[in-house]
């Protein structure tokens, strides 16, 4: 059906050239009737997918700048108190930070595989990959809770019972830990949201909702998950990778 193709895939930047006569309107209505997942404001699934991707990137832009604000603050205070920040940083549990990096990178790998599977119309396979990613996300949070518990036991919760035994100015040491708790805490909140989103997508993938024809939700949830992974990629050198002598 050459006419249908013309209606469904207008040339880039040529909306005016798409005929708006009665016949094409009828054709448009038929395309929407035959494609229930195509929202009425879009001409084609491709256009819908592109809009969803751009929307997600616009949202991720605000997220990048939100985390970026924290990273900028951290950079300023690290420049002001370099010795204290290095010294306290060496008291974090490097092995948990590294293990969690491996866990998150692997989870991102499974999400990429899920998107790949769904593009080949293997919705069930995508559900399996997403389940693996969710499991790894939960593993990350369990490790993080264990680490928080150990940090609190070490007296590194910046609260009334905060104590740091070292050469560093205790106020500067405390400031580093405020950054640590806020940055990892905000990241953990994003992990919880990501796990919830992937769970819903995995459920629908298991119900065979997605195919090579329609996979936008899998793709844009994947974008969010990868973004959360990228934040952690930068948290590893920022908080954990410290002076060579003092690692835990």
């Amino acid at each position: 059906m050459p006419e249908a193709e013309h209606r469904a895939q207008p040339e880039r930047g040529s909306w005016d050239s798409v005929p708006r006569d009665a016949a094409s309107e009828a054709l448009g209505r038929r395309v929407h009737r035959e494609t229930p997942m195509l929202a009425e404001q879009f001409d084609s699934l491709e256009q819908q997918r592109e809009a969803a991707n751009l929307g997600m990137w616009a949202f991720l832009g605000t997220e990048i700048l939100m985390f970026g604000g924290l990273f900028t603050c951290f950079a300023v205070y690290r420049a002001l108190y370099p010795d204290a920040f290095k010294e306290v940083s060496a008291h974090l549990y490097l092995w948990i930070g590294v293990a969690n990096t491996a866990v998150l990178l692997t989870s991102s790998f499974f999400v990429a595989l899920a998107v790949h599977a769904v593009k080949e119309s293997r919705s069930g396979g995508a559900a399996g990959h997403l389940l693996a990613a969710i499991g790894l996300g939960v593993t990350f949070l369990i490790l993080k809770v264990i680490e928080y518990y150990l940090d609190i036991k070490d007296g590194l919760l910046p609260w009334h019972n905060f104590h740091f035994e070292g050469e560093a100015n205790p106020q500067h040491a405390r400031l580093f830990m405020v950054f640590y708790w806020f940055m990892t805490g905000l990241h953990a909140v994003h992990m919880v949201i990501g796990i919830a989103v992937l769970s819903v997508i995995a459920f629908f993938a298991w119900r065979q909702r997605y195919s090579a024809h329609y996979y936008t939700p899998v793709e844009i949830s994947g974008l969010y998950w990868h973004f959360v992974d990228i934040v952690w990629i930068f948290l590893l050198p920022t908080l954990y990778l410290a002076q060579p002598s003092g690692h835990h």
């Binding site: 469904a8 420049a79 790998f109």
Partner: protein
């Protein structure tokens, strides 16, 4: 069935092999950055750490988030976010890095103060 649909669109996309290679590269880079953090570099330990982090983020963005095959408008959206992040970081740091610096200090220090300090 879906193949004959008028709105069907075949995409160039990242292959399974690429996804696996990128994942292996990410894990190796992670091991490398941890090992490098144990080598003293005279105060420049963070430099390779952040270079590797940027490389890892680039791999994730290009291949996992598939910006590599995305439209140019997506490149603009993604690029704009990092551009503003760069502006925030560079301008903030240039402010704090130069706060103690007073270019007129040298000249003034060679003179008697215009207003003598109180006894």
């Amino acid at each position: 069935m879906t193949d004959a649909h008028p709105t069907m669109h075949v995409h160039p996309h990242v292959t399974r092999a690429t996804v696996i290679v990128v994942f292996i590269a990410l894990m190796l880079l992670m091991i490398l950055t941890v090992l490098l953090s144990f080598i003293p570099m005279g105060g420049y330990e963070k430099l390779p750490a952040y270079l590797i982090a940027t490389l890892k983020a680039g791999l994730v963005i290009l291949f996992f988030m598939e910006v590599r095959h995305a439209s140019r408008l997506t490149w603009v959206f993604a690029g704009a976010a990092f551009l503003w992040l760069g502006i925030m970081l560079v301008l903030s740091m240039s402010d704090y890095a130069t706060r103690g610096y007073n270019p007129s200090e040298e000249v003034i220090s060679h003179r008697e103060p215009l207003i003598p300090p109180p006894d």
